[in-house]
């Protein structure tokens, strides 16, 4: 559904060498997993349902050490001695969901600009650069105004003139810049995968740092949070546009899915992609990005996570010294933009063409992250998914009408989404697949899911929850993104809470949230051939 936007790094070793050599064949993991250590005894929930001795019975908790600085910035530490690397990152609780139509994409653009240095990094003379950038902005303002005027030879001549002046000022600044210095400082010290990504509710910056160079991470990250300089503002926009072309505009389904999301999230801040709308991107000014940074990148809105081989006491001292320099905000944080769910009383249907497999997507609004029904919706997705899940068994193997069929549940900070994706096979139409899904849904409403089927899904969820712990970077990112959506402690609550779900809970969430009158159906037909 969403298109996550991110930086790309100066790919190093890992781009070339498969990460888990024999085992992985570099395949992506299919299901989201959460992560736990430390076991707690868990009861199998269905009364009378004896779980077999072999089913995993224990959920585990994370040995997280959490602390907070005086300025409100939080740290989450998981120590993993052994290989001398540290997965490190920080997330700020702001993303495209905070944007307004007209300036969509500003969060993601800001994410890119954060890689262009500070008053100390990326420059030979910050003051002279500052003068030039102020003059660039004046010229850009003029250009911006001119472009909104009706076309005429005089206007076009003026545009050409101002464009030339802007280019000249950019050229003047170039000798004063040390381009790509942040990347280089990291890469040259063996840091890998320095990157960032923007989502609806958060923006996260991360990488893997050799353990002996952890202080470099503290230096560079606290530095760019103190006083970043958004140099190369006018060229970075081009990079962002290339990213949009790559992720959205030249993929088989990208544009169609963007349209579907716009209809589904109508009136809600998740309605635009994090990459922004094309027409908005070109109108964003440097001053807007600076204001956005000042209002939102506050220490009390930021959480950092480190997973790896470090001494926690040393990390605490580094955190206090480096990030403790960020001033404690004097004002309350910006309020979360309210997101009234527009009343929907009838199904919405969107028909799009794409260079893709004919398919249907059925979308339902579900509650936000942390809501007690999210656990049952996760279990419900488990009942539908996988080789023995209902969608594969019925639509792919049984009826042979689907090439693939799966459900996704994504609870975010403001709202959740439950989506069923059905790719057609042979002569089956996307509409027919929606009918087959309705039949499955009907069965879910009528018949309680059996004890064994439910236990199977719980066993899978529990084992998956451990899998997510194996990779230090994945764990750091999970801590950060769960915390940004609500609370990292959900990682502990989640396995217990899903184990407690009953078949009655499943029937309840189906009737509460998967309501035919409140869904959006996307029908994607092949256009080109």
């Amino acid at each position: 559904m969403r298109t996550r936007a991110s930086q790309t790094s100066f790919a190093g070793l890992c781009a070339k060498i498969c990460r888990v050599p024999l085992a992985g064949f570099c395949r992506p993991s299919v299901r989201p997993a959460a992560a736990y250590l430390i076991y707690i005894a868990l009861a199998a929930i269905d009364p009378g349902m004896a779980a077999p001795a072999s089913s995993p019975q224990a959920a585990a908790r994370l040995p997280v050490e959490a602390f907070e600085l005086d300025n409100g910035m939080r740290f989450l530490l998981v120590r993993r001695p052994g290989v001398p690397m540290v997965a490190a990152g920080w997330a700020v609780r702001t993303g495209s969901g905070d944007e307004q139509p007209g300036s969509t994409g500003i969060s993601h653009l800001l994410e890119h600009l954060m890689f262009h240095g500070s008053r100390r990094i990326g420059t030979r003379s910050p003051d002279r650069e500052g003068d030039l950038m102020a003059r660039q902005d004046d010229v850009a303002d003029r250009l911006f105004d001119l472009r909104r005027q009706p076309a005429s030879p005089a206007r076009d001549a003026q545009i050409a003139d101002f464009q030339h002046r802007l280019e000249k000022l950019l050229d003047d600044q170039r000798p004063l810049m040390v381009q790509g210095e942040l990347w280089r400082l990291y890469q040259d010290q063996g840091a890998v995968g320095i990157n960032a990504l923007t989502d609806y509710d958060y923006t996260v910056y991360y990488g893997q740092i050799p353990a002996n160079k952890l202080s470099l991470w503290f230096w560079l990250e606290s530095d760019r949070l103190r006083d970043p300089v958004f140099r190369e503002f006018y060229t970075e926009g081009r990079v962002v546009e290339e990213e949009r072309r790559k992720r959205l505009e030249s993929t088989p389904e990208g544009k169609a899915v963007e349209q579907l999301a716009a209809t589904f999230w109508d009136g809600h801040p998740y309605a635009w992609p994090t990459l922004g709308r094309t027409e908005d991107l070109s109108g964003i000014r440097r001053a807007q990005a600076e204001a956005w940074f000042l209002a939102r990148y506050r220490p009390d809105q930021i959480t950092a996570a480190l997973v790896g081989d470090f001494d926690p006491e040393q990390v605490k001292a580094l955190a206090r010294s480096y990030f403790g320099r960020l001033p404690r905000p004097a004002t309350p944080p910006p309020a979360l933009a309210s997101s009234p769910a527009p009343a929907q009383t009838a199904e919405r249907r969107v028909t799009e063409t794409c260079d893709c497999t004919p398919q249907s997507r059925v979308l339902y609004r579900t509650p936000a992250f942390g809501h007690s029904d999210t656990y049952a919706l996760d279990v419900l997705a488990g009942v539908l998914n996988g080789r023995t899940g209902r969608l594969y068994r019925s639509l792919v193997l049984g009826q042979g009408i689907a090439f693939a069929a799966y459900a996704q549940h994504e609870p975010d900070r403001r709202s959740g989404l439950f989506q069923v994706v059905l790719e057609s096979k042979g002569e089956a139409t996307p509409e027919a697949l929606v009918g087959a899904w309705d039949a499955e849904l009907d069965r879910l409403r009528r018949e309680p899911v059996s004890g064994r089927e439910l236990q199977k899904v719980k066993n899978q969820i529990l084992t998956d929850s451990w899998r997510g712990l194996a990779d230090p970077l994945a764990l750091a990112l999970r801590l950060l993104t769960w915390d940004a959506r609500g609370d990292w402690r959900e990682l502990d609550r989640w396995p217990e809470a899903t184990q407690a779900i009953t078949s009655a809970d499943l029937q309840r969430v189906v009737s509460t949230w998967l309501n035919p009158q409140q869904r959006t159906v996307g029908i994607l037909n092949r256009g080109r051939r």
Partner: protein, 495 residues
């Protein structure tokens, strides 16, 4: 209702410290990151010999114990893959591997097998690539016994259930019609065909005429002949005692004889095609051109090939330069990658991949080619090279950062015939690469006159952008500018 406590002891607390901890040594913040002081990075790779064991039937097993998580990983590789299939049997190796997992086992019909695996929460997969096949198991340590029972029987005695084979063939047939949807897939296809020829084992693809050969009997025969204990290596890692793992695997594979026929030829044969340099394009209505450019490289002269560390450093340098030029300075791309591999038994590949707005494609190609030439013409300044070396050396521990990677990498050594000392010596070899070595190697191994460029994008916009930038597409690389046809997705014949 069953209540059971954990089999694993662990620290039982979540620490939540809300105020900063007690006194720690004061930290001075230098004015520049270059003035930070770093201790040496100490990292020794585990001793492979100590992790290696051999089952009674000769199968090597690497075991890396790690009790952090209650999970066990088992990975098996066998010498089976697309290289064994003659052209008229394309797809057999991959389809066989796929059906090993999907088609049930001798004692378990596929529905039962899937149900049991899912109930355990086990993740069992089988897969094939051009030069390797194999299977993986990830299971909770508590369910290791049952998980391995399923896994071993799947590897030794897959059923190739007729219904499942038919269903998978059906899905494969369906997927043929989608093969030209994704521009990147089109790009890779045309690139492979130009570099290796359409019949090369890593390039050729299934067409409808191959489908009817994918029947249970054929799959079973192919499996018997190529999934065999005498070409197998195993990696085990995670929450299991070494002795226990070995005993279980011994039971698992005991009495499994190697088939009487000879094992498949190894290494895979080299391509006999000589690529024709030039600029090739596929015209598509997309706003962004996708470009691959490069040429065939060289064969590996042994695992201690002195060129290899220099190639890695050279590629690291080129990668950094391309990113700086194309993204940081010119803002033409979101990302750009370069790679240069040595082939095991056939020429490796040098390639650069980039994506840019159609109108900028000619400019981006021109810049990339210029960077290739620059490596030949000028020695890389020592400071730049020093950074490239340091990045490779300091990032090295990441190749061993999970137990599954350690076990898998050593098992892969055995599969490829790569000595474990390769890893022991890796960093030292990188550290000794000099600018002269890199330039000499660049002159020998980067050959601008041999460049093959494949572009998928909207050609009218590419041509217009080139004209505006004063670039003639014909002059970008040696050789003609050729328009490639769109292919029918099912037959792959030109439309």
């Amino acid at each position: 209702m069953t209540r059971s406590s954990s089999p694993v002891l662990w620290v039982l607390c979540v620490l939540l410290v809300l105020s900063p901890a007690l006194a720690a040594p004061p930290i001075t913040i230098p004015d520049r990151p270059e003035n930070l002081h770093f201790d040496d990075l100490r990292f020794e790779i585990p001793d492979a010999a100590g992790l290696r064991h051999v089952l009674s039937n000769g199968v090597p097993v690497y075991v890396v114990e790690d009790h952090t998580l209650p999970l066990v990983d088992v990975a098996v590789a066998v010498r089976s893959g697309d290289w064994i299939d003659p052209p008229e049997r394309a797809g057999r190796a991959s389809f066989t591997a796929a059906l090993v997992r999907r088609g049930g086992t001798a004692s378990r019909p596929p529905d039962d097998f899937d149900e049991q695996a899912d109930f355990l929460g086990a993740d069992i997969e089988s897969l094939a690539s051009a030069t390797r096949s194999g299977a993986t198991l990830n299971v909770s340590s508590q369910s290791l016994g049952e998980g391995l029972d399923l896994f071993c029987e799947m590897i030794r005695a897959p059923r190739f259930d007729a219904g499942r084979v038919a269903a998978a063939r059906d899905n494969l047939r369906e997927s043929l019609g989608r093969r030209t949807d994704d521009s990147l897939e089109v790009l890779n296809r045309e690139w492979g065909r130009l570099l290796f020829g359409p019949d090369h084992y890593a390039v050729r693809e299934v067409t409808p005429k191959h489908l009817e050969t994918l029947v249970p009997g054929e799959l079973a025969a192919f499996h018997r002949a190529t999934w065999r204990p005498d070409s197998m290596v195993v990696a085990v890692s995670g929450d299991v005692a070494t002795a226990d793992a070995l005993a279980r695997l011994e039971k698992c594979f005991a009495g499994w004889p190697a088939p009487s026929g000879p094992p498949p030829p190894w290494p895979p044969p080299a391509s006999t095609v000589t690529p024709r340099p030039g600029l090739y394009s596929v015209d598509r209505e997309i706003p962004q051109a996708k470009v691959l450019l490069g040429h065939l490289g060289t064969k590996r002269r042994g695992w201690d090939d002195p060129d290899e560390p220099a190639l890695e450093v050279m590629n690291q340098t080129l990668q950094g330069r391309l990113m700086r030029r194309l993204r940081v300075e010119l803002g033409l791309v979101y990302g750009v990658e370069s790679s240069f591999d040595l082939g095991l038994a056939e020429p490796g590949v040098f390639r650069i991949f980039l994506e840019t707005e159609n109108a900028s494609a000619a400019k981006a190609i021109q810049v990339a080619v210029a960077e290739v030439r620059r490596l030949r013409e000028e020695p890389v300044p020592e400071p730049e090279l020093a950074y490239a070396r340091k990045a490779l050396v300091d990032g090295f521990p990441l190749l061993f950062d999970t137990p599954a990677e350690v076990a898998g990498r050593f098992a892969e050594d055995e599969y490829l015939g790569r000595p474990h000392t390769y890893w022991r010596d890796y960093r030292d070899r990188i550290r000794h690469v000099t600018p002269e070595q890199v330039q000499r190697l660049a002159q020998r191994s980067l050959q601008p006159d041999r460049l093959v460029v494949v572009l998928v994008g909207k050609w009218a916009d590419v041509a217009r952008g080139a004209a505006e930038a004063g670039i003639r597409p014909e002059s970008l690389v040696r050789g003609p500018v050729t328009r490639l046809p769109e292919r029918d997705p099912v037959t792959l014949e030109p439309r």
